[in-house]
Symmetry: C2
Subunit: 349 residues, 2 copies
């Protein structure tokens, strides 16, 4: 049999209260802990030991109200809502349902918040083990949902003494191809492995991974390197929220100086196709000469054969349709009255 990993449950830790010394309780429950082990510690017992609980009414609308207030306090921004589910980004940067606030495994008058700094908690716990002569890695884990896949998995909220990412960049496979898949989130995989021997109800809040190589560990490493900031995340908002954002942007299209970037004619054609059949039959759209000053790199003239008041109002609405369609193609516009119609000035954004 080949050498591999062992994933071992730590039983008998019991209820944790604020001020408990987790390193002491864990070593008492697992006297077999050894140098090189990686501990996967459920965030809830870290939160409890750190006193990250808030008192709430046990039931009724007061409880719901209190819960909403606690959620608002933990929320940096709302990512998506549907029915009773609110997915937020926490102040730490985690994207989680209900900010990871949990009402399970605690009495009904309290809610458990995430540790305020899970990487710091992991570093402290690792230091506490070191003080007992044990050199272990520590991962603080919690359960999260994910996009696109049903079911939940455990991931790492905090880590110390373990490389968060195994980086294959620069490696080549046996065929000489440079690897495309480069960065494995190994602490999330270790947290998931630990969950397999933990239980939700049977008081196994710690798992030990034995045999995982911890080469190259720097104490500066933590789980926060796994947080993708909203700006570089292709899924920073829920689909419904982002769609509504687009609708609001269409409502708020500004009329101001344009950035003067080139306009892709194919993008203008796609925008025209978007509104095809929706514009007034009386409308004529023609490409117009660009005049310096506004920052436009292209322009369109909109005129109508129907110069009655309803016809002119329709021209205004049609121009706004076209502006929204152009915005969907990343073309910014400026609308100006021009002769008997409107002039749309265009720029890339």
């Amino acid at each position: 049999m080949e050498d591999g990993l062992e994933i071992l449950p730590v039983r008998g830790i019991g209820h944790i209260v604020a001020g408990d010394d987790l390193a002491e309780l864990i070593t008492a429950a697992a006297p077999w802990l050894a140098d090189g082990d990686v501990l996967v510690v459920t965030s809830k017992i870290v939160s409890k030991a750190e006193g990250r609980l808030v008192e709430v009414p046990a039931d009724g609308p007061e409880r719901e109200q209190a819960r909403r207030e606690v959620l608002a306090g933990e929320t940096a921004r709302v990512v998506a809502r549907r029915g009773p589910t609110t997915i937020v980004q926490t102040h730490h940067g985690f994207v989680m349902a209900a900010a990871g606030i949990d009402a399970s495994n605690v009495d009904k008058t309290h809610l458990v918040l995430l540790p305020s700094d899970p990487d710091a908690s992991a570093r402290q716990l690792r230091a506490d083990f070191r003080a007992r002569g044990l050199d272990v890695g520590v991962i603080i884990s919690d359960t999260m949902g994910r996009a696109w896949r049903n079911g939940l998995t455990d991931v790492a909220l905090g880590a110390a003494g373990i490389e968060p990412i195994r980086d294959h960049r620069g490696e080549t496979d046996p065929y000489g191809n440079e690897l495309e898949i480069t960065q494995m989130a190994v602490i999330d995989e270790l947290a998931a492995a630990g969950e397999l021997v933990k239980g939700k109800c049977d008081q196994v809040p710690v798992a030990v991974v034995r045999g995982y190589p911890r080469a190259g560990v720097r104490d500066s490493d933590g789980a926060s390197v796994l947080l993708r900031d909203a700006g570089s995340d292709m899924f920073s908002l829920g689909t419904a929220e982002a769609r509504a954002l687009g609708l609001r942007e269409a409502a708020q299209l500004p009329d101001g100086a344009l950035p003067g970037r080139p306009v892709d004619p194919a993008a203008v054609d796609r925008a025209a196709a978007t509104v095809a059949g929706l514009l007034s039959p009386a409308l004529t759209v023609t490409a117009a000469e660009v005049v310096d000053g506004s920052g436009a790199t292209a322009a369109l003239h909109l005129t109508t054969r129907d110069t009655t008041p309803p016809g002119l109002m329709r021209l205004g609405a049609d121009a706004h349709r076209l502006r929204a369609a152009l915005a969907a193609e990343s073309i910014v516009t400026l609308s100006l009255p021009h002769e008997d119609g409107l002039r749309l000035e265009l720029s890339g954004n």
Copy 2:
């Protein structure tokens, strides 16, 4: 020491070609396999054994073109694009970068596709082991990115002989709370655990999980239960794509019969706030009586003091701004000429 799991690498399997008998190769490499083990098998060797390779030019623009065509063939819908990255939903339902098509660990003239039916592949492989007298669970795994978190993890594409989800519904914790976190995607966690002993380059395409309870297994279970359909997914589109969708919807607001659902006055107020300061100072918006027929449950009259042609065009554009803002609040509208201005009829959607 408590009883736990072992995660064991299977080394020495070597290169796989179409038609290879994986059960034979795996049992030869791991004669220590035992009943109850769960095998985590990298999808690539399943694809290779099943001949799921396509020939492509080794380099140049022809290779890129061929790659794009292969991707299009594997794509059911595009979820998000940014720069060189295309995230799609495959015909299987997986949401993956480049549809899981892989150019690593294969010679430069081929691309490896995902198995066409990974659950069927897992069932077949499990049956092949059974024919050799071994009762094992089989997970076919691959590496995926995810929203919100950097780094990749392995998840299950296919499974047989193992419950895909561990369901805690109905369980209560020691405090009497019913569990809120109910469904753990254990096959994804097993795939992640397996990845920890596999390598990207060193030819360890199979891991064995020993000691995981496989109670309650039905042969009908497969990894496809983990696929969330786009309709119930809050992240079915990338943020930029969904925002563009909203902009296009604003360009295409229809004028047709309304569904006759009640309108939330607070939503109208939010829409008005969206366009506050953007509408013409000459514009007046007043709540109007609802007339039967259109399906409207509320109506607004828009009039302007500026009845010059530019003023009337501005009224039309402002009405469209307001319609887009109302659409962002899930209010559908119908725009009709009315006296000297426009009448917007409103309904919930």
